[in-house]
Amino acid sequence: MKRLRRPLAAVLYVIFGAAVLLPSSKVSADDEFFDGKTITYIVATKPGGGYDTYGRLIAKYLEKHLPGARVIVKNVPGAGHIIGTNQLYHAKPDGLTIGSFNTGLIYAQLLKREGIRFDLRQMSWIGKAASEPRVLVVGIDSGIASIQDLQRAADPVRLASSGIGTSSHNETALLGHALGLNVKIIPGYGGTEGEMGIMRGEVAGTLGSYSSLRPFVDNGFGRMVLRVGGDSGAIGSVPTVRDLVSDNDGRAIAALIESQTELGRLTAGPPGIPSDRLALLRGAYEKALSDADLRQQANRLSIPIDPLFGEAVAANVGLALTQPPASVALLASVMNADAATTSVKADLLEVTAKGKRIRFHERGKTVVSKVSGSRTRVFIAGRADDRANLKKGMTCRIKYLAGGDNEARLIDCGD
């Protein structure tokens, strides 16, 4: 036995040594994974806008903090950030493609907008660079002094939005519902047209990000009557939506919009990036955004920096996207509804033509309503469903546009 001990010990030493040394050499190989590689940073807009500016700044400092790596910005514009995000989502998840896109795509995913081929929950989240509190600004001559004026208005007050389906429109509709505002949203005011509309007096106000509306307010053309998100220091004494909502619906809406304001200028990669490379990217991102030079550059460009990294961002995104079905239905109805819809809870008397037409009672009269394949949202037992699955006898909450063929906007059946 004694004779075997030394060779055995030697073998054990070798094995032990290998077990200790080999993994560490593997780790250092991954530390240098990005050395000599080129990372593509996809920006989902054309060059020159806010996302492009943030993207290029971050790309520059990512390069600085990933020794040996090159980071190039690639603009993939179109379809309201959807083309770029689709491309990012389906890129090879080797850590060499990351990108940035509009946080408002969370709404798009919640509402299952056409054209979306990604699931934000699955993205490899790297971080976010800024917070974007929203403010509701009204014209200085509009006669509106506070949010209560909008709640008490006798006639609908006109507010401008970029367009149906955009974040500004969604959020204006949601806030209108949450706070009981008597407003009529006029879409089509993209970019700074809303501000021009306010100055011309054709609309009374608009909802937008604080950073873009601030010059308008500072120049004396408008006043802020409501904010969502943002710490009180920066936006002074403007009332926040959280203080004004009183019911569960309102609180859910406030939470959703606030999560949007928190998650500004996101950076992410496609799902499935190996965890060690993702850790490297996250680390570099954190260093980049803490870099004093970047902060200084950002100051000169007047772009605010308020970062959050890695897992925290992933958690927030997950939360924002995990809305109970009732909330999604609420969102859908609020975002698709306009003043002309009638709301009723009724049993379906008849369902014809594979769900294209339904008949129900409303206040003593029979209504035949058209169910559109694309414009009507159908929910059965809390899940989005197809109109062909509507059955006679179901009890549903129906929102429809009275007149003409009474097209339904929302059918939410409980059975």
Partner: protein, 501 residues
């Protein structure tokens, strides 16, 4: 009043006396003309790319540099429009319609001169309009809302008739086709994607640069390739391409001084009102030139007024667009969006305080605009002769090169390779139209103005209901639309009578 006069002059003298500022302007001009001349690049990209360079500069220097660069983009954009029938930028498409035929007739030099002179004068008048409108700025800008945009777009559409050449019916069909194609895209009023065939890249609609390249550049190159020879159908010996002819062209601007003045003012006004877009200015002025001419049948075949009108508008609208950008902090055009961002990063805060506290800065920028336009003319004169020679290059060399430019331009402008499919499809359409003598400008008008018309109509109806037509500004515009139609009908009638006699 005397204080203001002092500021006008003081800032001019300061500008002329600063070698640094003059050097910046001189440096900015070729850059701006380059971005205009290469199809698809455009002033916006120029500003976006230059922002990092101006980053460290003194605010005034940086602002002067950018303004000067942006002022001459369309001066450069007219070069390929005239020489090859390829618009350098969207608004230069209107210059192609008469500028290219002039080159084909061997009058490239004259066309270049006319365009140059028109751009220079247009830019100067636009800058002066900026100055004169200062006191009445707010009411003027604020009186143009969706209702007025709608009626202005309709006015532009009535010009389709004037631009239809011989057959009104053909023009209307082509124009309506343009209007229909304008509906392609994600409609902001309903959130529904129209005619996109499931293609995400069509959500923003048909890219105007792609359409314009497809309708004008591609057919001309196909025709040139088929015909053989060079762009100029006239041989080098008898053609006019020397410096004398360029100067002749500049004098043409003087000969048509009344038209020049009118279109400069119209262009500046269109520029002042944010929301109409750059193409609207040049097409509205082109249409106006056709309508107001005693011999409209010359247009489309090489009438020099057809070059002067859009080119003055292109440059004067920049002066106009600077107004709301500086004073409201609200950009007057998409190029101004970037300029605004650049001003902010330079530390200049646009807004009413500029009039109150920094009037000298404003005036310096106005003069920079003027100087840039004037110096550009001088610089270009130096190289015009050689530029004009390009029309004598053999078609076989030119056609493939131009195709590459057209493809690159379309891709750069839209940011998506799929727009090349649109480019070729519309290119075939354009060739068909040319082959069978159908007019093409109405298509572009329909495409450009259709979107504005529809969106403005919806907004106006949502805000005022059908009663929006009864507002005073609307009634004025309505009468202009009616006058435009009546004028056209009357002209056709008298022409026909003269013909029958």
């Amino acid at each position: 009043m005397s204080i203001e006069t002092d500021i006008y002059l003081a800032s001019l003298i300061a500008l002329l006396g600063s070698p640094m500022l003059l050097a910046l302007i001189v440096a900015a001009i070729p850059i701006g003309m380059f971005f205009g001349a290469v199809p698809g690049l455009g002033g916006k990209l120029g500003i976006a790319l230059l922002i990092p360079f101006v980053f460290g500069m003194e605010p005034l220097h940086g602002a002067v540099f950018l303004v000067a660069m942006h002022a001459v983009v369309h001066t450069g954009g007219s070069i390929p429009s005239i020489l090859f029938g390829i618009p350098g930028t969207g608004p230069d498409a209107a210059t192609v319609v008469d500028g290219y035929p002039m080159a084909q007739k061997g009058q490239a030099g004259r066309a270049l001169g006319a365009s140059l002179g028109a751009s220079g004068i247009g830019g100067v008048i636009g800058a002066m309009a900026l100055a004169l409108l200062l006191p009445v700025l707010r009411p003027v800008v604020l009186s143009f809302g969706p209702a007025e945009f709608f009626l202005l777009a309709i006015l532009g559409v009535t010009f389709i008739a004037a631009l239809s050449g011989d057959s009104l019916v053909k023009g209307l069909i082509v124009g309506c086709f343009g209007l229909v194609l304008a509906t392609i895209g994600m409609d902001p009023m309903t959130g529904v994607a129209r005619f996109t065939f499931g293609q995400l890249f069509l959500w923003e609609g048909i890219d105007v640069i792609t359409a314009v390249l497809a309708l004008f550049a591609i057919p001309e190159m196909i025709a040139l390739g088929a015909r053989g020879g060079s762009v100029s159908a006239v041989s080098k010996d008898i053609a006019n391409y020397g410096l004398r002819d360029v100067i002749e062209g500049i004098f043409d601007v003087g000969r048509h001084w009344w038209l020049t003045l009118r279109t400069s003012i119209i262009g500046a006004l269109v520029g002042v009102v944010p929301g109409l877009g750059g193409e609207a200015a040049s097409w509205l002025c082109y249409g106006h030139a056709v309508q107001s001419s005693k011999t409209p049948e010359r247009f489309g075949k090489g009438a020099v007024e057809g070059v002067i009108a859009p080119e003055t508008a292109n440059n004067s609208k920049e002066g106009g667009a600077l107004l709301p950008t500086l004073f409201f902090g609200i950009p007057g055009s998409s190029g101004m969006v970037l300029l605004l961002g650049a001003f902010v990063t330079l530390g200049i805060q646009p807004g009413p305080q500029l009039i109150l506290y920094h009037l000298d800065l404003v005036w310096t920028l106005v003069w920079a605009l003027v100087l840039a336009n004037v110096i550009a003319v001088a610089m270009f004169l130096g190289i015009a002769r050689w530029v004009g020679l390009l029309v004598f290059v053999r078609g076989g060399l030119l056609v493939p090169l131009i195709f590459v430019f057209a493809i690159t331009g379309s891709y750069l402008s839209s940011g998506n390779w799929k727009s090349l499919i649109v480019l070729f499809l519309l290119g075939f359409l354009g060739y068909g139209l040319k082959r069978f003598d159908w007019p093409r400008p109405p298509f572009v008008i329909g495409l450009v103005l259709g979107g504005i018309a529809e969106e403005s109509l919806h907004k106006a109806l949502a805000i005022w209901g059908p009663a929006f037509l009864l507002r005073p500004q609307s009634l004025i515009l309505l009468s202009m639309v009616a006058a435009s139609i009546v004028f056209y009908v009357w002209r056709r009638r008298t022409a026909r009578n003269a013909h029958d006699d």
